[in-house]
Structure formats: structure tokens, C-alpha cells
Symmetry: C2
Subunit: 313 residues, 2 copies
């Protein structure tokens, strides 16, 4: 039974990344050979190892947010190509220190974790815009490069990746939108489409709630620190809100990377989703080989497609 | 901004269930009217409220497991129609008290939580079978009723529900299999297809890892208590295993409901997935109406289809 367990040999950077991407198989170290093993194929770890510097991009410091929690740093990348007005208002909120001292206010099983001001009777004031126009979809022409995933999708005519963000497109309408995959960050809103402003944000922690696509402004993605948010105890009030103040984790500060000295910045890179290496990375997940896998899926769904991230130490 | 927050009026059983199913929208109480509201349609809560006794089934006590954790009871339903030999071996392990005193040993972000014996050098002995034949797929003829979901799927020719479990089918091969949706429980194994035995089980906590379908025996589903597992702190060793004994949550006991006196049993019912009420429940999620939703998805993917569960107090 020892092979059910992990071994030090698995604790490599590549496999740690593989784990981070939650694409590992439900097993640990290999032991007995399989009856009819599939041919060995490059793994995601192999593809990452073989990639070159040009296959990766550094995060833009102006579009990188650090949310400092008592348990560590969560890093978010904003997507101004899809939500320019909302991204700008979030930057304004961060620069007036709006989020400092606020809280994680919601943790709903299989759905989202949300943060902001829990006090509806006496809300913390801010100078940034109170309402921002809905940015639920963007023009295909304006949204930049799109690398289509060939495997199809239940919800949209086309899906793929735009500059490292999972996205969908409808050529008939000429519109494109970011999709609610795990780690994507959206803007909580009231009933009115234009009632969001970025002062309350949520991150997807469970199976992709794609029914939210095109109904809410999606403004970015958590690049690092998902586990700090997703493992929060679930809230016991309706929709997973915390009904007791002591249940809420405080937000020490939120900062824009560009506003911090170099020494205080994290150095993360994202694999370019328009690179050949990325196509190899997706194919490694689509068609797995080796002794553990008995049947390669041959397909991959949008929210299961890895978006490799690495930290430059 | 008050409408960003939950209100006591939301804390109804129906909405609590809605929350449990992680299908709520990212907002709280309604406030301002939407510009162009969609027509009102029955919600999942409405469908559940309108359902009759014949739309629900009680769990079979012989196929219901209670995993007692320090934080509460997790309830699993076994699926003997798909994995009869594995379900029988798990019952044997439970009845010899194998799991009592073992641990949650793995929590991998966005993937699985796993439990069993962490001691590979001196494993806890058991009388049940050490290996059980692979039950990765079953014959369509043997697996019982199947209610097809019409929305399509990226991975399989047909998907739907079999007696309350998400499943896929391939008419060409005559095979069917349970799918790796959130809350589904599988059997950790070594490289050999027949090396699993049920002494180590995992539950899916993130976006459905469908690449595992047909590669591992899926034996059931968590009916209640997912939050007790999914909010466990993530393990820091490779693949999310806990590398420090104090990180592991102990399992007080695992019992079969049939072996407990009535007074100690939980009374859960699952909506019959072959009922008309279930079709209405799925359609309520597929085509949402009302003032918050601006665009109804019109589609639903297999692992987003709700499987309503209710507790008889």
C-alpha cells in the first residue's frame, strides 16, 4: 500500500506546480507496472521544464494586486482588456486604502469566497465611483489575442484563453467574456446591471458556475494564494455569509504591485497562452500517458485547462 | 450598498438548500429593479417546495455511511449498481472498524480530500480484501435507470443521472460510468487497475477532474458534510498530502446507517433524478428568470446540475 502515499521524490518544483494546478492523479509514487500501460507522453511538468523564457510573461505591476491576509499574500491579476472601467475603480479603491481593515465576509461551499465591508448599516466611505457601468462582455475586436480550445463547450460557441484568462466568444454577436472558472474574480452587484463598483469582490472556489457568465463583471484571476481563500470555514448564514463578526478573516491591506518597492514585490510569471508551449501543456493534460492512466480523456474542458504560473525566487 | 449583503429573509430552508447546492447568485437581497428584467420563472427553491413525496427517495441504510469527524458527521451514499465489489469491501472495512482512528491525510487545492492510513511503514491491518477488481465502468444494462441531460458534454457521448448519481454513457461500447463531479467519492489506487480496495477514499472538492473518469473506481457521493472536508487546510507536501501528523484530522468512526439504532441515524432524502420534479429542478437552473439574472445560460453542464437533498427533521 506504500504507493498510495506521497514520497519526497514527488516534491519537485514541477510537481508542486502540478499539484498547485490540481491536475495530479489520485495516486502518489508509482510502484507496480500497469497491465497494459499507455505509451509515455510528455507531462505538464515535462512541458514546463522544456519551456523557454519567451513562453512566459511577467505580471504587469499596475494590474497586480496583493491582498495581505494574516495567513499570507493572495495575488490577483486584473484584466483591463475585459473590464477597463472596473479595473480602474478597483485601483482607485486600493490606492485610497479602502480594503485595509475590511474582511472576508462570505465562504459558500462549492461556490465563492467574497470580501468587502460587512457593515451595511454604517458602511466604510470611499471616494472612488459608487457605480461602474456593467462590463459583462467586451468586443472581440478590443479584447486582444484569443487562443481557441478545440474541445468544445456546453455554454458558449467558442472558448479558449485571452492573455492568460479563460474566456468565451460569440462570433455572431462579436462579443467575448471572461468565464467563471475556479480562481476567477468577479464584482458583486445589486440587481441593476450597473450597480457594481469593485468594493466587494468574490473568487470562484468550486466547480465553475458558468451560469454567471455574462451576468456580472469578471475583472481578474487569483494567481497565487487560492488555498488561503478556499479553505476558509464556510459561513453559516444564507449563501455562506458569516453571521458572527469573529468568523470573518481581516484583510490587513491590499496594494498594487507598482506601488511597492521592488523588494516587497512577488515575482510571478504566467505561461503565455498564445505560445506553442501552452498548446503542448494543454495537450499533455488532454492526452495523458504513462503507467497510471488507463484511458486518456482525449478532451479537456475550458476550466480544466491548466494556466501554468511560476514564481521567480 | 445594503443589497450586497445577506438578510434574515434569505435564511429560509429553500434558500439554505439553494446555498448548499452552491447555485445561488453572487448577490444577496433584491433592492433596485433591473433595467430589463427577465420574466419570473420557477426557481430551484420553488420546484423543491412544489415537489411531492414521490419525487424523493430515502437513502438505503445499507448503502449509507456516516463518517464521524470531530467537527461533525459526513454522510456518504454508496453506488453498488456501479461498483458492487468495491462497495462490499468498503462495508467489510467499516464493519471491522478499520477506519476508526485513521485520518484525513490529504487536502489538495481545487482537487481532492483523501482519507485513510497515513503510516506506510506500519500500516493498520485489515481482514477485508487487499485488492478488488477495477470497477471503472459498468454495463449499461446492469446500471439501472439513466435520465439523460440534453445539454451535451465535452468528455462523453451521453451524460445524465443514474439513481441520483452523475454518470456518463457510451452506447457504442455499452458501458456507463460515474463521473468525477464535486462530492463524488473514489477509490485511491496504485498503478495497477486492480490495486484499489476502498481503504483509502477521496472526495472531489474542486472543479470536476473529468480526466479521472474511467481510470478509477468511483463508489459513491457525499450527501451531507462536504464543507467539513473541503475547508480542511491544504496539505503542504506534494499533491496536498499532510507532512506533519498534527495537520491530520482524526476520523472518530465510520459506521453503516443500517448498523445504528434508528435514533442515531440521519434522515436524508434525495430527489429522484428520474422524476418530473427533477426535470423541473434542472430546467430552473438552466433557464433562470427574475430581476437579478440578465442572461439565462439556457444550458447546464453535468456537474452543475443540482441533485437536491433534504433532511427530515
Amino acid at each position: 500500500m506504500s504507493a498510495f502515499f506521497t514520497t519526497p521524490s514527488m516534491a519537485t518544483g514541477a510537481l508542486a506546480l502540478l499539484a498547485l494546478l490540481a491536475t495530479a492523479s489520485v495516486h502518489a509514487a508509482p510502484a507496480k507496472p500497469a497491465a497494459q500501460p499507455l505509451p509515455p507522453r510528455p507531462s505538464l511538468a515535462d512541458v514546463i521544464k522544456a519551456s523557454g523564457p519567451s513562453d512566459w510573461r511577467a505580471l504587469d505591476p499596475e494590474n497586480t494586486l496583493y491582498m495581505e491576509l494574516p495567513t499570507g499574500r493572495v495575488i490577483l491579476e486584473l484584466a483591463p482588456a475585459f473590464a477597463p472601467a472596473t479595473a480602474a475603480n478597483i485601483r482607485a479603491l486600493v490606492r485610497e486604502r479602502y480594503f485595509d481593515g475590511l474582511f472576508i465576509i462570505r465562504s459558500q461551499e462549492g461556490f465563492v469566497v467574497q470580501w468587502g465591508d460587512p457593515d451595511e448599516d454604517n458602511p466604510k466611505p470611499f471616494k472612488a465611483a459608487k457605480t461602474v457601468k456593467a462590463e459583462f462582455t467586451a468586443s472581440i475586436k478590443d479584447a486582444g489575442n484569443f487562443t481557441r480550445l478545440k474541445d468544445g463547450d456546453v455554454y458558449a460557441p467558442q472558448v479558449g484563453h485571452a492573455n492568460g484568462f479563460p474566456a468565451a466568444r460569440d462570433p455572431a454577436s462579436g462579443r467575448t467574456w471572461l468565464t467563471h472558472c475556479p480562481a476567477m474574480v468577479g464584482v458583486a452587484r445589486d440587481e441593476g446591471a450597473d450597480t457594481g463598483n469593485g468594493s466587494q469582490l468574490y473568487v470562484v472556489i468550486g466547480h465553475a458556475p458558468r451560469q454567471l457568465d455574462r451576468n456580472i463583471t469578471v475583472v481578474g484571476r487569483v494567481i497565487s494564494g487560492m488555498a488561503l481563500l478556499s479553505s476558509q470555514p464556510r459561513g453559516t448564514a444564507a449563501s455562506g455569509f458569516y453571521d458572527k463578526p469573529e468568523q470573518r478573516m481581516p484583510i490587513k491591506a491590499v496594494r498594487i504591485a507598482a506601488d511597492l518597492p521592488e523588494a516587497e514585490r512577488s515575482r510571478f510569471e504566467v505561461m503565455r497562452t498564445d505560445s506553442a508551449a501552452y498548446q503542448a501543456a494543454v495537450d499533455a493534460q488532454r492526452n495523458r500517458g504513462g503507467p497510471w492512466t488507463k484511458v486518456a480523456a482525449g478532451k479537456i474542458d475550458l476550466c480544466s485547462a491548466p494556466i501554468p504560473v511560476r514564481e521567480q525566487k
